[in-house]
């Protein structure tokens, strides 16, 4: 059954940025948009398994640090070569200044 997992304080993520969140043996990328919405996707790029948290957040895009592959982090959708496979995305919310994601 899916459950809400505590990630960090909202202030731990800069606006328009991303952090890495490891949980069990899985790794996620948790985003804070410019207007303070939070989102979560798989943490590794589907091209060559690089941590997306080292990448660049622009508008609703996360750009992978290795080959600049782009995903829409609000949906996980791959936006073109060299990334062809979508990321899984996960529900995320903020409660009392704390970020949670649902796994």
């Amino acid at each position: 059954m899916s459950e809400w997992i505590k990630v960090c304080a909202l202030d731990d993520i800069d606006a328009e940025d991303v952090i890495r969140f490891d949980h069990g043996d899985r790794t996620f990328a948790v985003y804070r948009s410019e207007d303070d919405e939070v989102y979560a996707t798989d943490g590794l790029c589907t091209h060559e398994q690089v941590h997306l948290a080292d990448g660049l957040v622009m508008d609703e895009i996360i750009e992978c640090p290795k080959h600049n592959g782009r995903f829409d982090y609000t949906t996980g959708e791959a936006k073109g070569a060299p990334v062809c496979v979508n990321l899984n995305s996960y529900p995320a919310r903020v409660e009392d200044g704390t970020v949670f994601i649902q796994l």
Partner: protein, 358 residues
């Protein structure tokens, strides 16, 4: 009599490829000089302004020199003007191809994609195969049997380099591959790095290219003049690509193969503003490989942020060549030789076996 030095296997599907995998050199963890995330974010920031300015300047230079070619056609004065036009056509397009392929030149995506397509046509590199080959070059930089973009294979073949100065091997390979792709076929190496879902795009573009080259040749025939084929298509790539070859060799030639530290297999070279305009700052090559997200216009600042952990910068293009020429010469007969770069002992070289997603 000296025995013949056996050629190394640089193909992507041979024994060296298997060995690279066994040695943990494939999709491995590379050394990165640490940089505060805040600084990096600042440097990675995309802007349209610098690339729009540089692109308009580039187009203006092409228009002026191209116009002079037309005006002076038939006189000997056209020769030096053609040489300048050729450099802007066949060499400056290399760096535009490169930077737009990374998607970092402009903030606006369609501008990157549009200039990428144009530059690809000018430099005679098919857009989709080269996007994938360049991704591989960044994953497995100068790893033998993995990197499809090794410009100075060992042992050195002088004939190869003389031909490459005129962009001949690459152009010939492209002409063959465009013909092959227009028939809906890939080579075995290409099939190794171009995913299936991208393949129809390869075939489509090859057919459009055939049409465009056909139109350029048809115009020349119709006008009964060489002028159209001297201004666009294959010929300006051949007579104008030499400067991109000169720049390109400084990137990795003569340095180590099969290492996981760009400071040991890449060069950062100080260049004059004209070269840096044509080359779009790719002279900061170690920095580019370490942080490919940083746009060309921010590479000088990235260099400042990382230089405490870099080997000494080559003070000029000529200084780099004073190392490259003897190294390549020696690699004719001693393919195991390479130039060892003095790397600061500030960090540790990564464990060859560590996976990228540790």
């Amino acid at each position: 009599m000296a025995s013949k030095i056996p050629a190394r296997d640089y193909s992507l599907i041979g024994d060296t490829s298997r060995r690279a995998r066994e040695q943990g050199l494939v999709t491995a963890q590379w050394y990165q000089t640490e940089i505060p995330r805040k600084t990096l974010k600042q440097l990675m920031k995309r802007r349209d302004g610098p690339a729009i300015r540089d692109t308009l300047g580039w187009f203006a230079l092409l228009a002026v020199t191209g116009g002079l070619v037309v005006a002076l056609w038939g006189s000997w004065w056209v020769v030096p003007v053609l040489l300048v036009y050729g450099v802007f056509y066949g060499s400056a397009s290399d760096s535009r191809w490169h930077e737009c392929g990374h998607g970092t030149a402009f903030k606006t995506r369609w501008l990157n994609d549009w200039l990428y397509q144009l530059a690809c046509f000018m430099i005679m590199r098919e857009p989709t195969p080269w996007r994938w080959s360049h991704a591989r070059h960044h994953t497995d930089t100068i790893i033998v049997g993995r990197d499809p973009e090794i410009a100075a294979p060992r042992p050195t073949s002088l004939a190869h380099h003389i031909l490459a100065f005129f962009t001949l091997p690459q152009t010939w390979t492209t002409l063959k591959s465009v013909a092959r792709h227009s028939l809906g076929q890939l080579s075995v190496d290409e099939a190794d790095y171009i995913p299936e879902m991208e393949q129809p795009r390869v075939y489509r573009t090859a057919r459009v290219w055939l049409l465009l080259h056909g139109l350029i040749i048809a115009t020349a025939v119709l006008l009964q003049s060489w002028l159209p084929v001297m201004l666009a298509g294959v010929l300006p790539t051949l007579y104008g690509g030499w400067l991109s070859y000169i720049f390109g060799l400084t990137q990795h030639a003569g340095l180590a193969e099969n290492v996981l530290d760009h400071r040991q297999n890449s060069r950062t070279v100080r260049m004059n503003p004209v070269f840096r305009f044509i080359y779009w700052n790719m002279n900061y090559h170690i920095e580019h490989h370490m942080y490919p997200m940083v746009p060309y216009h921010a590479l000088p600042q990235l260099h400042q942020a990382l230089k405490h952990d870099m080997p000494p910068v080559y003070p000029s293009t000529w200084a780099a060549y004073r190392e490259i020429i003897p190294a390549l010469w020696r690699q004719r007969t001693d393919p195991d030789y390479f130039v060892r770069r003095p790397v600061p002992a500030t960090g540790k070289t990564p464990d060859a076996a560590a996976p990228a997603a540790a």
